[in-house]
């Protein structure tokens, strides 16, 4: 089983996770920019974070044979803090980088005017940089938030197939399917989706435009949920090629629209694999 996790926050994960992901078949992933649990208070904090997603994290992933890409954005929660919104001025510079395959996560948290503004501005940036968009749908009032999301996308002029609407569930999937956007599902240990419900949705809606992610971060989450969903699909009678469609082909097709996917991990240039790497700090 080869796996492309289309949404996972590796900066919060350990090298054990990388190793387990590699063993489970993860060969590529996208790490969208979002908040850190602890709120940011300045633009500088974003800039260092973006650098990390483009540099250190990519390097770390390469040590484990995993191709790391990212999506960059001002996340909806911090769009409400005026100390953070100026990051939108430096974002264009970063959207030009190799390894950036989408604008994201954008969307709504509390559905404020500030979130509206940041969302619309970033959809414009996606158009200008010819990048697809990863949209987060809110935890609270999810149905209203998803509906408003689709309205804003429609008004933006972005083609629906350039947009992935994420964190969907039984109550929100239909409207996104009808809008023609890609549908993302986060499979979690307690909240969001679980494997069995995910398989039921795949049985009902088919595999087209459907993406499954672990959205693993610093909270209780599991970076192997993609793999476990693949196993659950097989148990439920899906064929291997259908699993491959959901776990590999669909993310490749969606993010491939950026023209910047590089599915061979960036070789860790000067490292001699036989003698170790900086992540291992000479322990061997």
């Amino acid at each position: 089983m080869r796996i492309f996790d289309p949404h996972i926050h590796m900066t919060s994960r350990t090298t054990d996770d990388y190793e387990a992901m590699r063993d489970a078949g993860v060969r590529a992933l996208v790490e969208p920019a979002f908040w850190l649990g602890q709120p940011r208070t300045s633009v500088g904090s974003f800039v260092d974070y973006f650098d990390s997603l483009l540099g250190w994290e990519r390097f770390r992933a390469a040590q484990f044979g995993i191709a790391h890409h990212c999506a960059l954005a001002l996340n909806p929660k911090e769009a409400n803090d005026p100390r953070c919104t100026e990051v939108l001025d430096v974002l264009p510079r970063y959207l030009a980088k190799d390894g950036v395959v989408a604008v994201g996560e954008v969307g709504y948290d509390s559905m404020t005017q500030e979130e509206d503004d940041a969302f619309a501005r970033q959809l414009e940036l996606a158009l200008r940089h010819d990048l697809p968009v990863l949209v987060h749908t809110p935890h609270r009032d999810k149905q209203a938030g998803t509906k408003r999301t689709l309205d804003v996308v429609r008004e933006s002029g972005l083609a629906p197939h350039r947009v992935l609407v994420d964190h969907l569930n039984e109550t929100t999937v239909r409207m996104v399917a009808d809008a023609g956007c890609w549908m993302g599902f986060s499979v979690y240990p307690d909240t969001k989706m679980d494997e069995a419900r995910m398989v039921a949705l795949l049985a009902e809606y088919g595999t087209e435009r459907m993406l499954v992610n672990s959205a693993a971060d610093w909270g209780r989450s599991d970076p192997l949920k993609t793999h476990k969903t693949g196993l659950a699909m097989l148990d439920a009678g899906f064929g291997e090629s259908e699993v491959d469609t959901v776990l590999w082909h669909n993310p490749v097709e969606f993010y491939g629209q950026s023209g910047r996917l590089a599915l061979e991990p960036v070789a860790a240039g000067a490292v001699d694999a036989a003698t170790g790497s900086s992540v291992l700090r000479g322990e061997r």
Binding site: G55, F59, A270, T275
Partner: protein, 442 residues
């Protein structure tokens, strides 16, 4: 780009001509340099007229422009390569062939027929000149590109131009230039040759070469400055065919042709990017990041070229370099660090700050790039030694460290010896590079 990128069919000698054309067109070339040969549109075949018509239709269908090349090895004489030539005693055989090639070129709608002089001595000059005159006088009016060929009577552009002058500057006599030959034998580089040939240029062959060695190489294997060469073609407003000339690579033709086109596209991008930065230094902000996607494996060298162009025209190159590093990805930072070797001396303090930043990182590429010639010249000895030691910790081969042998000192050796002791105490192997460094000193 004003001209058409093509590929020479003599690099597809093991393909049927139709198949070769399909592969070349599918790869994305828009022209071919067609070498007439016994198996590729034999000019002596009974049905050559019919074959030529069919080929013209095929080229049209594939959207390929064409030039006719006449350098087949054993077309006229099965025993002697390239024989007879315009300097041979039986010159008439070559003249007849070239006149047939003119008719084929006309029927194909080709830009020109390309030809060379032949191996001989300076004494053959007059004989050659009368042979060329005979070719020009016979058959249809088709531009004839005289190609300077290493080791032949006309081997330099100057000689080709002199011959033309002596013939009274006939309109139909033009120049074919092989840019690899320029590297191999010309006193000036290919870009300068292109500018000198100017509007007389009717055909261009693209390949790499090493000075003094007439061996056609893939791009990057010799010393040709490909971006500058393509920029020169654009600069003179060249609109003809520029076709890759790799006649000894037929055994792997499709792969070689694919690689060549990627190299050409990358060089094309770089030439345009350098031009854009020289016109507006601010353009580097978007071109510097894009170099990775556009150029691929050669991106470090490409970024150094962009930095060089930037430093030449920018009012404040130091601030620019620092900004590109500050907002750069790891690959962009590596490019800036590599650029310090050439540009850093203009502002050593700013350069040292970047090197120190890179040496604080834990990315092997950055640490390796930081320890180049600039660091050898300007970084404090203490920081430099720690950089070397960090390489040993990170498994970076010490070959990345510029001037290691010259600059290693007793203090560095003490540090490396202590590191080795620490490894042994922990029961871990000592890196071979560390042992080698200590071994050289003992």
């Amino acid at each position: 780009m004003t001209f058409q990128l093509g590929y020479g069919t003599n690099g597809f000698a093991n393909h049927r001509l139709d198949d070769a054309l399909a592969v070349i067109a599918d790869l994305g070339y828009t022209a071919v340099a067609l070498t007439l040969d016994h198996h590729h549109l034999d000019p002596f075949a009974g049905d050559v007229v019919k074959q030529t018509d069919r080929l013209a239709a095929r080229l049209h269908e594939l959207g390929l422009g064409v030039v006719v090349e006449t350098g087949a090895r054993y077309l006229l004489d099965p025993r002697r390569k390239h024989h007879p030539t315009l300097v041979s005693s039986d010159q008439a055989v070559r003249v007849d062939f070239l006149v047939r090639a003119k008719q084929i070129a006309l029927d194909l709608g080709a830009d020109c027929v390309s030809f060379w002089s032949g191996v001989g001595s300076a004494d053959d000059w007059d004989h050659l000149r009368s042979g060329v005159a005979a070719v020009l006088e016979s058959g249809p009016g088709v531009p004839m590109g005289l190609e300077p060929e290493p080791g032949m009577v006309v081997q330099w552009l100057d000689q080709a131009l002199r011959l033309r002058t002596e013939l009274g500057n006939p309109e139909e006599l033009r120049i074919t230039l092989d840019v690899g030959h320029c590297v191999a034998v010309e006193p000036q580089d290919a870009a300068a040759c292109i500018r000198q040939a100017g509007e007389l240029l009717v055909n261009v062959q693209l390949d790499d070469m090493l000075p003094g060695v007439h061996e056609h190489l893939e791009f990057g294997e010799g010393q040709l400055d490909l971006p500058a060469t393509l920029a020169a073609l654009t600069g003179i407003g060249y609109t003809g065919v520029a076709a890759v000339e790799l006649p000894r690579h037929s055994h792997a033709a499709p792969d070689v042709a694919g690689r060549a086109l990627r190299a050409l596209r990358a060089a094309e991008w770089l030439a345009e990017a350098e031009r854009a930065v020289r016109a507006d230094p601010g353009a580097i902000d978007t071109l510097f990041p894009a170099a990775g996607r556009a150029v691929g494996a050669g991106q470090d060298a490409a970024r150094v070229r962009l930095l060089t162009a930037f430093a030449d025209v920018s009012g404040d190159p130091v601030d620019g370099l620092t900004r590109l590093y500050r907002y750069g990805t790891s690959a962009e930072r590596r490019g800036v660090l590599r650029g310090l070797a050439e540009l850093g001396d203009r502002a050593p303090a700013a350069g040292v700050a970047l090197v120190e930043d890179a040496l604080r990182s834990n990315e092997t590429d950055l640490v390796a790039a930081a320890l180049g010639p600039f660091a050898t010249r300007h970084l404090g000895r203490h920081a430099w030694r720690h950089g070397v030691l960090k390489c040993l910790f990170m498994g970076i081969p010490l070959t990345v460290v510029d001037g290691l042998d010259r600059h290693s000192d007793a203090e560095l050796l003490r540090m490396v010896a202590a590191f080795a002791d620490e490894r042994r105490a922990a029961g871990r192997p000592v890196p071979a590079d560390a042992l080698a460094l200590l071994g050289k000193a003992s």
